[in-house]
Symmetry: C2
Subunit: 333 residues, 2 copies
DNA sequence: TTGTAGGCGTTATCAT
DNA sequence: ATGATAACGCCTACAA
C-alpha cells in the first residue's frame, strides 16, 4: 500500500501539501499537477483508518433493522444507499433477527465500531435498551416506528390515516362487520393502525365489536390463529383488515386452506406491498408505504446531524401512505 | 472516549500490559483483575481505527450483490451474518443495482475501505472488471455465479441438475412440448439451466424445438415478452420452465392478464422460492436454492482465506437444489 | 502557500 | 511477565 509519503516524495513536495490537496485546500497549481500525477502513478488511495484515527470519522453508518429478508426493510435500505453512497459513506447492515437482545447487542456493536451515525428500525416501540449509545452522542434516526420515551429524530408513516383510509374504503363498499388483525400492542405502528381502524368506525357510526379485534405477533407465523379466530366467530366479519405483511400472507394462506375465495367469501385488505399481491385474482387491496422515501429522508436527516446541525431536534417526519383498492374487498349490495 | 492509556493509569500497569490483556496474551492474575476493573469502570472499548492502523485488519467484509431488494440475496446475507457476526465482523453491503459499472465502482470502493474480504454475487458471468481488486490480494469469494476466466473461490448451485430435475418432472407428467424462458446467455446460471433443460430433453428423446427456447433479461420486467412469444407460437408449449424469479413472476402476471389458469391451460415451473409462490392455487412448482447455506459456506471459505489459509485454491462448491413439484404442472393423459 | 513535527490509539519490539 | 518506545498513515497547528 502506497502512502501519502510516497506521493510526497514522487511529487517532490511535503506530506502536508499532499494532505492539503487531498482535503481540498488550495495549493499551487504546479504542485497540484505533480501530486495528481504521482497519485495516478502510484495508484494511491488514502488509508481510511489512519484518517479516521485523526479525524474521528469513519464514513460508515450503521443500519439496524429487525430482519434483513423483510422486503420493506430492503426497500428502505435502497433509499438510504441512494443518498449515502454518492457521498462515499459505507453502510454496515445489522439484523436484530426480531430480538430485542440482539438489537441491543448490535447497537453497542455499531457504537464500538465507531460508525458516524445510525439509522434503525426498532424491534419494538416499548423500549430502546440502547445501552448508552444515544447518550454517547452518535446521531440516531429512527424509521418506521417511534419508541416510547425516546427523543430521537424519526421518519415514520402516518399509520393512523393509512389504516383509516383502508377501513373507510371497506365501509364505503358496504361492509359493517369489519375485523382487524392487529399487531402487538407494544408496537407503535400497530397501535396507530388500530387507532385508525377505530376512528374510521366511529366516524361512520359503526359500533366497535371487541370480538372483531384480534392480535397477532408480527413474525413469520403471525396471523394464522388470529384469522381462524375471526372466522370461527358466531357472526364472523365480512371483511378483514390485516395490518402488516406477514399477517396478511398468513391470513391468505388459511383462506386457501379453508377454500375461501378472496373478495367473494371474505373481503381482505392488507398492509405493505409486494408485487405478488397484485398478481392474485383479484389483486389484493393494500395500504402502501413509501419505503424507499423513508430511507431517503432518514439518510438526509442523519447527514444533517452528522454534520453537526442539531436544529429542530427531534425532527419527526410522517409520510403519507397510499391506498390500493381492488376487488379483494367486495362491494356489498 | 477512553483509551488504553486511561485504563493503564487506573490499573497502575503499562499500556503494553493492557494491550496484551486485550489480545489474549497471558498476564499476571493480579494485573488481569485490576485491568478488568478499570475497563469496567471506564467503559473502555478499544478503538478499531487505531487497531486497524497497526494491524491492517478492519474486521469488516464487503458483500456486493446485484440488488439488495432481491429476496435471494438477502437470504444469502442472513447466512453470511450467521457466521461472521459472532466473530465480530461487520458487513458492509453494496448493491450494484444490476449495473456492471456500479459493480466495478463498489468493488474498488470496498478495496479502498480496506475490507478484509469480499463476498460477491456478480452481475454477469462474462467479466469481473475488478480493477485490480483481486490482484491486490484481498480475498474474494464468488457466490451463485462463476465468472469467465476468473480463478476465484466460489459457492454456486448445481444449476444443471436443478434445471434437469424440473424438466424431468415435467416430462414425467406427460409433457412433450416444453418451453423455456432462459436468461441472458452471458449469465452463468442461465447457461447452466439451459444446459439442464437440453440434457433432460435429450435423455428422454424429445427433440429440441428452437422455437421453444426464448431469452429474457434477468430484471424487473424480464419474461413478459418471452412468455407472450411462447404462447403466440403456432403450436405453443403445454408447459413452461421459467428459469428465475422475475421471469416467473412476470410470466404469471401475463397469464392472469390473458385469463390462463396455471396447471390447467398452461403448466408452469419456476426457479427460486418465495412463500407467496406456495399460496397460489395451485401452488407453484419451483426449483429451490439453498440460499442461506450459500451464505454460510461462502463466509466460511472467506474466513479461511482471511486467516491466510490458501489451500485448495480455487475452491468451488456446488450445492444441490431441491425440487418442489405441485399441480402447477398438469399431469397429461 | 509550504514544510516540519507532534499526536491520534494501538500493537509490537526491545530490554529488563 | 512487564515497561518503555517506536512505528502504523494521516491531519493540523506552527513557523517560515
Amino acid at each position: 500500500m502506497k502512502t501519502i509519503k510516497d506521493v510526497a516524495k514522487l511529487a517532490d513536495v511535503s506530506v502536508g501539501t499532499v494532505s492539503r490537496y487531498l482535503n481540498g485546500y488550495k495549493i499551487k497549481e504546479a504542485n497540484r499537477k505533480k501530486i495528481e500525477a504521482a497519485i495516478e502513478r502510484l495508484q494511491f488511495t488514502s488509508n481510511p483508518m489512519a484518517r479516521g484515527l485523526r479525524t474521528n470519522k469513519t464514513f460508515t453508518v450503521g443500519v439496524l433493522i429487525p430482519r434483513i429478508t423483510d422486503i420493506f426493510c430492503t426497500q428502505v435500505i435502497e433509499g438510504i444507499e441512494e443518498i449515502l453512497n454518492p457521498l462515499n459513506y459505507g453502510i454496515v447492515i445489522c439484523s436484530a433477527n426480531d430480538s430485542l437482545t440482539q438489537q441491543a447487542e448490535k447497537l453497542t456493536y455499531l457504537k464500538n465500531k465507531c460508525v458516524d451515525g445510525i439509522i434503525m428500525m426498532p424491534v419494538t416501540s416499548a423500549t430502546l435498551e440502547d445501552e448508552g449509545v444515544v447518550a454517547s452522542g452518535i446521531p440516531v434516526v429512527l424509521i418506521d416506528r417511534l419508541v416510547k420515551d425516546c427523543e430521537l429524530d424519526a421518519v415514520v408513516c402516518d399509520n393512523v390515516n393509512g389504516a383509516y383510509s383502508a377501513v373507510e374504503m371497506i365501509i364505503n363498499k358496504g361492509h359493517q362487520k369489519i375485523g382487524i388483525i392487529s399487531g402487538p400492542q407494544e408496537i407503535y405502528t400497530a397501535q396507530e393502525r388500530l387507532t385508525g381502524y377505530m376512528r374510521a368506525l366511529n366516524d361512520y357510526n359503526i359500533e366497535i365489536n371487541e370480538e372483531y379485534i384480534v392480535y397477532a405477533p408480527y413474525n413469520q407465523t403471525g396471523g394464522i390463529d388470529a384469522f381462524r379466530q375471526l372466522m370461527s366467530l358466531e357472526d364472523p366479519p365480512t371483511a378483514i383488515f390485516s395490518t402488516n405483511y406477514p399477517t396478511t400472507v398468513n391470513a391468505m394462506k388459511v383462506m386457501l386452506e379453508q377454500g375461501l375465495q378472496i373478495g367473494k367469501d371474505i373481503s381482505l385488505c392488507g398492509y405493505d406491498q409486494t408485487e405478488l399481491f397484485q398478481m392474485f385474482n383479484p389483486p389484493l387491496s393494500v395500504v402502501v408505504q413509501p419505503s424507499r422515501e423513508i430511507g431517503i429522508n432518514a439518510a438526509e436527516i442523519l447527514l444533517k446531524r452528522m454534520e453537526g446541525d442539531h436544529s429542530r431536534f427531534p425532527q419527526i417526519q410522517r409520510l403519507k401512505t397510499q391506498l390500493i383498492a381492488t376487488e379483494s374487498v367486495k362491494t356489498m349490495d
